[in-house]
């Protein structure tokens, strides 16, 4: 019995030591932060938002002199977590890190959204952008966008896009591109990005728009055939692939945009302080390198710039949603 207890105590000590949030707070305390700060991740553990939050939380804790904990409030759309932050007191102690692109599609997509994306949430700072890789199964005899368009004309009904879910940015991207080039592909929703990749690698569906880092190895291994990369920057490992911008494709900026938001009513000085601290953290080489390894490009900016980005994204995706008449709430 004694040994077990000793082992247990040792174990607890090790676990506690492994958790930076439980370490005593030593940094000079900013007067504005009076208690523990919670970062809400509106998805399950392991996603991009979750990893970013857990990467940055210890640094934020050091900077503001208060413990910072990460809490998952998962749902497929991210709306349960966002709703929680929207309804939290406006004191800057509850933050949301989420896929800002997905958040921007919600007001037009979901009929009965329980919060107002622009009024109930205050943008704090953008964090990173990670482009989509546009790829097909190797059995599809097309290596460029033009060949793919020609293939679809000759073989209607053979192409199916696997997406991470109904109404997801991937889904909307496939709709916009299909419409622009007259490609009549089927759109097959899956439960997230990983099942979608599985489906396309195993040729259940055969076209995909998915986060570059997760998709890249399959292109390198010739299990998928790359067509293009979203955004305006080429990827070093597949420098032969053109960007959406070069091809003159629509939705150039489709991809994963991660950003921090907080509750409405937070004093502007608090938001500015949070923004400044987050930018400092994103400039640290160890954080910036990890984000690069996650396949992202650090993107920062003022709260106003983020707010402007949101307004633009809501309008752009809103137009797509309305044109295609997609609706998620019954």
């Amino acid at each position: 019995m004694f040994k077990l207890r000793a082992a247990f105590a040792g174990l607890s000590a090790v676990v506690a030591a492994a958790l930076p949030f439980h370490a005593g707070v030593t940094a000079a305390s900013a007067q504005t932060f009076t208690k523990q700060v919670t970062i809400i991740v509106p998805y399950g553990p392991g996603g991009t938002s979750d990893i970013l939050a857990r990467l940055m939380a210890p640094k934020l804790s050091e900077a503001i002199g208060q413990p910072v904990i990460v809490e998952n409030k998962p749902s497929s759309s991210g709306n349960i977590g966002a709703d929680f932050v929207a309804k939290a007191p406006g004191d800057g102690h509850t933050l949301l890190i989420t896929d800002a692109g997905t958040l921007a599609t919600q007001p037009n997509l979901v009929k009965k959204l329980s919060f107002d994306v622009q009024k109930d949430l205050m943008p704090v700072s953008m964090v990173m952008f990670s482009p989509y890789l546009f790829a097909v199964h190797p059995s599809v005899p097309a290596a460029t966008l033009q060949e793919l368009i020609a293939y679809d004309k000759a073989n209607p009904g053979k192409l199916n896009v696997g997406t991470s879910g109904v109404g997801s940015v991937q889904h909307l991207t496939a709709l916009v591109i299909g419409k622009k080039y007259g490609i009549k592909w089927g759109i097959v929703p899956y439960r997230g990005g990983a099942p979608a990749i599985r489906a396309v690698v195993s040729n259940e569906s055969n076209v995909i728009f998915n986060g570059a880092l997760a998709t890249l190895p399959f292109v390198v291994q010739n299990q998928l055939k790359g067509i293009a990369v979203s955004g305006d920057k080429k990827l070093p490992t597949v420098a032969n692939l053109p960007t959406f911008k070069e091809l003159g494709m629509p939705v150039v900026e489709a991809g994963s945009w991660q950003g921090f938001l907080t509750s409405k009513g937070t004093p502007p000085a608090m938001v500015a302080k949070l923004n400044a601290e987050l930018r400092k953290i994103l400039a640290m080489p160890e954080i910036a390198n990890k984000i690069k390894e996650l396949g992202g490009d650090v993107r920062t900016g003022s709260p106003d710039e983020f707010a402007a980005w949101m307004t633009k994204a809501i309008a752009e995706w809103g137009a797509v949603v309305k044109a295609e008449n997609i609706q998620i709430d019954g």
């Binding site: 553990p45 392991g46 979750d50 497929s76 929703p189 195993s202």
Partner: protein
Amino acid sequence: MDLFANLATGFAVALTPANLGFCLLGALIGTLVGVLPGIAPITTIAILLPFTFTLPPASSLIMLAGIFYGAQYGGSTTAILVNVPGESSAIVTCLDGHQMAKQGRAGPALAIAAIASFVAGTLATVVIATASVPMTWLALKFNAPEYFSLMVLGLTGAVVLAHGAPEKAVAMVLVGLLLGLVGIDVNSGAPRMTMDLAGLADGIGFVPIAIGMFGIAELAVTLGKPQDRSLLTVKFSNLWPTRADIRACVPSILRGTAIGSILGVLPGGGAALSSFAAYALEKKVSSTPERFGRGAIEGVAAPEAANNAGAQTSFIPLLTLGIPGNAIMALMVGALMIQGIQPGPQVMISQPQLFWGVIASMWLGNLMLVVLNLPLVGLWVSLLRVPYRIMFPAIVLFCCIGTYTVSNTVFDIWTMLLFGILGVFFYKVGAEPAPFVLGFVLGPLMEENFRRAMYLSRGNPWVFFDFIERPISAGLLLCAAALLVILVLPAVRSKREEVFQEE
């Protein structure tokens, strides 16, 4: 003799003192969170993730994998002792494991669970080391029609799980299927039967249902029957399985391992079936199926073996394709990516030390777990000597905390309460919860894959039966049909016998 060279590389990595330490630490933490009902290994892994950023990639993966299968071990302990399952595989362990505990055979149940897991883990490690490539091929052969047919086979077998009235088991499967549909429809995005509750948008949670129907309901029912509680305090004369127990279990463990190894490879859904399938098979091949559900030791050994073998082989798609088969594997991908390693086909070639080191550590982890758990059996059993009036509030509290941590909302607690009350009702009317849970888990997957297959074939149902293009799907449906005949025939025959006797 590539294999031996590879394994040697692997053990060279896994046997360094540091990595042994991380393996042990992972196994310990995993056992701890596994024993606590509802605390998912995924939560723990997520919390430990920042810590692993500073470790070498092999060490971090070894530790995280240790948590994963440590939790599988710990989960069966709680299932056997107090009938609280933390995940779908543990539900099958509850069926006979907890009955054994009630009969004063908690020791043998726990020991056989540990032994079965260890044997299965060892064999599965060999499978991973030798057959990763063909197993990967199998995983890629499974598309929407195959998944649908597999689920049909699984549900046909669900009725075998019940030891009571089969017509009630069928009803429970149907209820499970129906409740599994609650939530946003994957194919159309429409919310179904959610009553506008945000907490139901992603469906009814599995953990609140399982803990409510098994754990809370069992507690409330047992407390109302003082005579049942005295069973929990019978003398535990033997802690270890008898020689006859072991002999009965050897074939069960082997069959369980085979089923688990194959189903574990299939991403999304295969693993959920493995322990159910192993249990159903044991009951079917047994010469005394009536013992199942009343404390048959094979009913603990086979699903435990299947579950652990499946947990191991679920690493195959991750290691060879870079495709995570479940949420925990997705988290491991995250851990590797932070380390600058992209999991995928190239990992085996470009990072042989990582790949084989992890495989070797799986076996070492299983060894550690069995060494760790067998001595603990006595301690766990002595826990049952704590008066029930003290044990009971502790279980209620831990069930609540565990359910809360799944998604950090009290909505799940209310769900657990509702299903606890429903569980008592089902118990009183003689309807068993296990077929319900299988229907609940498989229903959404079945519908999703059915509709996806129909969409991809542009409405042609022939895809499911096409022996030339889709031999696996057609074969699975054939098995389901055969199973149905086997299930119906004895009932028909016994009816006829009854009729003859009456005459």
